[in-house]
Symmetry: C2
Amino acid sequence: MKKNELKKIIFKIFKKHKLVHKHSNICADAIINAEIVGAHSHGLSRLKMYCDRIKKNLINPKPKFKIKKYSNSILHLDANDSIGFVAADFAIKQAIKLAKRTGIGIVGVKNSGHYGLSGYYIEQAVKKNLLALCFTNAPPAIAPYGAKKSLFGTNPISFGTPSGSTAPFIFDSSMSKINRGKIRVAAKMNKKIPFDVALDKNGNITSDPKKALEGVQLPIADFRGSGLAWMVDILSGVLTGSAHSGKVKDPFDDFTGPQNVGHFFLVLKHNIFINNYLNRIKENIKNVKKLPKIKGVQEIFYPGQRKFKKYKINLNKDILISNKIKNELFELLND
Amino acid sequence: MKKNELKKIIFKIFKKHKLVHKHSNICADAIINAEIVGAHSHGLSRLKMYCDRIKKNLINPKPKFKIKKYSNSILHLDANDSIGFVAADFAIKQAIKLAKRTGIGIVGVKNSGHYGLSGYYIEQAVKKNLLALCFTNAPPAIAPYGAKKSLFGTNPISFGTPSGSTAPFIFDSSMSKINRGKIRVAAKMNKKIPFDVALDKNGNITSDPKKALEGVQLPIADFRGSGLAWMVDILSGVLTGSAHSGKVKDPFDDFTGPQNVGHFFLVLKHNIFINNYLNRIKENIKNVKKLPKIKGVQEIFYPGQRKFKKYKINLNKDILISNKIKNELFELLND
């Protein structure tokens, strides 16, 4: 489907579900972007879920943001159960404004929801020549080190900086060894999953995707990834006043209340310490890229570089939509 | 040896090597602390190296700090080739002051050196009921994802928060899958190292510690750890004006100039967004700790909890010193 056409449809769907014009636009843009970069699990596949939650009053389509200013650099946003896209878009824009004025901007968000890709917000800051760091918590997905029950979300860490080239440096990584989607695909295809990425319900390592789906995913790098996921839960959940320690609700399965996801955005100007950052980061990336490569590797990519390539290639292509999604779009339009 | 006695000796050694009274004290305390928590590779084993570098004018025993204030929340420190302990101690104390006044304190440091354990500085902030995050770069140790030559340092990420209990929550982790010391021990004992933690000099995975010593260590979690190590290099090295992208000098092997390590400290008040953080973090930790455990695990520890236990146990014990170190201490005293 043509991107413009698809965007109009998504926009209409959100309008129909009572989001205001501006918010419908923000959501449609975020979903289209996820499709263009190939992050389909964060795109159209979630549209029905968002609409379901709006209908059940678990996402507030007309949120009243409560903003509390701590200082010229620090804001707190109570997103009033807004859809995550809108809360995160507001928060990063505020953090950018604060950083431009004072060198640093920090925005903490509570009562938000799933906002799609962290890197999408980081990119807004990087496009304005700023550095940015963002953390968000998420519904239980991975087991803390030593536990056999999941509690931390995928809890991504995302960091971005201008790179000195057209492709921005955007690191955006979940703290889970494997994503649940991959386990589901393996189960469908009767394939094994790699060793040591998931536990069965009894807490034993399993390569059987079906057993893994009943069990838990493991954090990257054992106690290290567990500690990083914990840090993300603290900064985005505990510090902001959001749900934390496993209390963020799963948007697909849990309709007992709003998700109450928390986010933490930090934006920095690149000249807070020195004046030649942009030359230095260019040199930094050049030095890494020119290293000798292991067999089979043609190029050392910096984080975000591949995604940018994909984006460029897909930007002028139509978006492929499965029949399942097409039917969903049709139903949502006529809801 | 009694701790007081040992501290006096280390203090004397630094004084003898021209550090001022206060700086000698800071260094002695940091080294004693590393020994107490069992981080021997960051303790006495480095003392001779520090003194060697002072004698060769690669560490400046009487540094003149240049401090540049960007705002009430942001400072830059040119540490003038100070020993890392002194630069980091000054930087964290400044970051704490800034955070107490404005909610957030950021200090970037250039022209510093190896400062021991990141968690040691984070602890200073946590003891004052603040949250803290710190990054430092280091000499080449791990290969960027796809490369067969090391460039990033162990580049630890360290994060701390008051925990609501006596043991502070302090996460402090290198981005390397294995530390070089462990590879050296395996080589000495003719033991294999785990699969997939190191490459030989040709870029092939090896379990042979001797081949690994000629090759490179791998980052945790493949491209994810590589990205995190890169982020640390950018924030602590590129942004602060320090050496970066493999240019930080190895303190043991490279006497061609000062190390020029960079650090980045960020300290936050816990009430910037909400008022009941301390109760919330206590609840957060409780919820994680009470999860069902995998077989063989008695207790789920939060980061820093084990180290604190070790600290408490060792605090009233003597410090064991090998003959090699005793000889070094003797020689350094009589240098």
